[in-house]
């Protein structure tokens, strides 16, 4: 197990370097950011030259990357054009996104698995059919449509929940964006759970458990659900990273100053420090989530062993 984890961690290094370099190149392919600082006006050449020198923009690209990575290992992510350190942005943005992701993840897990369990146990019933239709609708509508529609109806028209989250973030204000962010994944979780529950309910061990005279509650929760959750946990693990990425759209709609906000602003203002810094952390989150999922397999299914 320990050697396996070590090997996985070592594999992360080339992945990490590769992705950061790609992002770095892509941001630079957008062109010289200094002109945009001057708006519709022509920049003063002397001042523009000074700013280029400050951000190493006169160096060849590979040297800029080496300098950037050198600073990164000293935990210096560089500065934005507004003079803030990217580390301070990370410190404000990630907690916000994490809160949103946590709310969405909770909704996804609780409702996704319950819906899936109910429809899996009562196949062909009214509950099953309505869950099927509902998930079909949710999957086929893009997140930003659900976002704006729910914001208008719940937030503006009926005034049940706050229309935007703002500052400070409260659980109440994160409920609506959480539902929007969770909706698509929730539908997948429900369908996945339904399929595996339906499959496993005919398995021998369930019949044995029922024959033993165990109460139905214990059969369903301890035997059926536990074995049905293995593929669901895989999905949830990878989805945790996807949720943080998907928060980009949701955060903009509901004015949450998280990763999505800073990434968007960084791209629009072509600040490579911000973009690369935020993506770097996102990459680490993805890698860690994947590793965690693989380790969870062994916990859920004793037959799986890592050498």
């Amino acid at each position: 197990m320990g050697r396996y984890v070590l090997r996985r961690l070592l594999q992360m290094i080339p992945v990490f370097i590769g992705t950061t370099f790609l992002i770095f190149v892509m941001v630079h392919a957008l062109g010289d950011p200094v002109n945009a600082l001057f708006g519709d006006k022509a920049p003063d050449p002397a001042v523009a030259a000074q700013i280029r020198a400050q951000y190493n923009l006169n160096d060849p690209l590979w040297l800029q990357y080496v300098k950037y990575m050198g600073n990164l290992f000293r935990w210096d992510f560089g500065n934005t054009f507004s003079g803030q350190t990217v580390t301070s942005l990370l410190a404000t943005a990630y907690p916000a996104t994490l809160k949103l992701t946590a709310v969405a993840f909770t909704i996804e897990v609780v409702f996704g698995i319950s819906f899936g369990l109910i429809s899996g146990l009562r196949r062909g019933g009214v509950a099953d059919n309505s869950v099927l239709i509902l998930t079909l609708v949710v999957i086929s509508i893009p997140t930003f449509v659900t976002g704006y529609v729910l914001q208008y109806l719940v937030g503006v028209k009926w005034g049940i929940l706050p229309a935007t989250a703002g500052d400070p973030l409260t659980l109440q204000s994160l409920l609506l964006p959480g539902i929007v962010l969770a909706s698509v994944s929730l539908a997948y979780v429900a369908r996945l759970t339904r399929t595996t529950v339906a499959e496993n309910s005919k398995a021998d061990y369930v019949r044995t458990a029922t024959a033993k005279g165990l109460p139905r509650r214990r059969v369903v929760i301890n035997h059926l659900l536990r074995n049905s959750l293995i593929p669901v946990v895989t999905f949830l693990g990878t989805d945790l990273g996807a949720l943080m990425g998907g928060a980009l759209v949701t955060e903009r709609i509901f004015n949450i100053h998280g990763v999505g906000f800073y990434l968007y602003q960084g791209i629009v203002r072509q600040n490579s420090n911000t973009v690369v810094g935020f993506v770097t952390i996102l990459v680490i989150v993805f890698l860690a989530a994947n590793l965690l999922v693989d380790l969870l397999y062994a916990v859920l299914d004793p037959r799986i062993r890592y050498a």
């Binding site: 945009a36 001042v47 942005l89 709310v103 903009r252 949450i256």
Partner: protein, 545 residues
Amino acid sequence: MPAATRARWAVIAATSLALVVTGCSSSSNSSSSGGTNSAGVVTAWWGDPQNPLEPANTNEVNGGAVLNMIFTGLVSYDPKTSKANNANADSITSTDQQNWTVKLKPGWKFSDGTPVTASSYVDAWNYGALVTNKQVNASFFGYIDGFNDVAPATGAPKAQTMSGLKVVDDNTFTVALSQKFSTWPQTLGYSAYYPLPKTFFSNHAGYLNQPIGNGPYEIASWTRSQKMQLRPNTQYSGTIKPQNGGIDLKVYTDTNAAYADLQSGNLDVDNGVPNSALKTIQSDLNGRYLNQPAGIIQTISFPLYQANWSTDNAKLVRQGISMAIDRATITKVVFTGTRTPATEWTSPVLGAAGGYQAGICGDACNYDPAKAKALIQQGGGIPGGQLTISYNADGPHKEWVDATCNSINNAMGNTTSCVGRPVGTFADFRNQITSKQMTGAFRTGWQMDYPLIQDFLQPVYTTDGSSNDSHYSNQQFDALVSQANAQPDPANSVKDFQTAEKMLATDMPAIPLWYQNGTVGWSSKVSNVMLDPFSVPVYTSITVK
């Protein structure tokens, strides 16, 4: 540990972690509902400033809005008439239109209690001009003697301060300009010319976290990229006192989110109204909406540095293209009335006394497809056979560029006469313009820095103008601008500028399209919401019901 327990643990751990993380947030939900509170505080839309909040380093509307509230310059502009009035200055006088004496009103203080003196201005201007300080507005000090020593085009600065600035006593300083400039005092309301307190120089990092000024408001707190609370400055000595208990600026990631907040009562003043809301805004807000021209003009410029665009015949082609654009329809349909068709190269906010005169462009700006086609053909057709209009695709430009091209195509009776050419990002777009890579037409916009006809003409159309993107060069035009700047009488000065402007109608280095309007919507809790000529709300006058 039995397998069953382990499995349950895994699921519970995942969900409870989520609850713990969000749990921390729900404890601090004291009074986050926004909107107006009992102390008469107004919440207003805001965006994250692009640059650090230094007066000479702020050239966009978000940083500008704050600086406007926390600073009062030598002069300030009347929000209705755009007229420049002395604010912190007692008098600004000159006998030769080139050497100026500035006298300050005594007794003014910064919000930290330190006095505003002549050195507050001189030090601030020297800081703004010095090239190693990398201030984006450094070029605004270019008229002052000695600017080339502190900001040489290449190499290290030869001096740390400009020779043209001299402190006489605590309340007086003199300014020597490198050329005659009779309307120079009226330019001094621009944010680059604000004074700076001593602490700016002694504790620069601390200052940037909480800027200090001499204006009607002071910054009470600022959470970067989230919100800023401004409260009335008790040390303020000026006449434009705040009529409310303060302004809370809220950073929005998206204009639609702000509009949703405005409608649900969590936001009081929204001057970032999204285009998608314009059609319904009157009924959404029961008429609490203002749409008025601002000092911004949109134009289409031509690369006069390209041989085929610099001929005399090309002038006729440019006039023809201008006549082929149906401005009235495009502003109505594409912009829902938030643009006003342009008939000259300045802006209506200048007023007649300031130099705005409708119709200077003459027939060339009137829609006349038949004559347009005739003129273009007389000029030998569009150079290269097809007109391209370049624009930055990351801004809201595709719609109107396509509409403009359609209008030109219809006039020419040819569906390929004109096409839009998107450039990925604004930075790249500006890069291609400043490095003279354009081969066809491209969109340009000009937002005034101060309400003067000089600001619309000199930087944009004189041969060595700092923003002459089309590289237009006409010695007669240059001479008239210099003559206008030397006129001691403002009325004569304006007349000379207008004579110069008339030359643009024949040379047509840039086609005037339309004036951009400022828009603002507000909640039922506030009143007296106005926009100044820079399309920024006049925060001081807003009252809370």
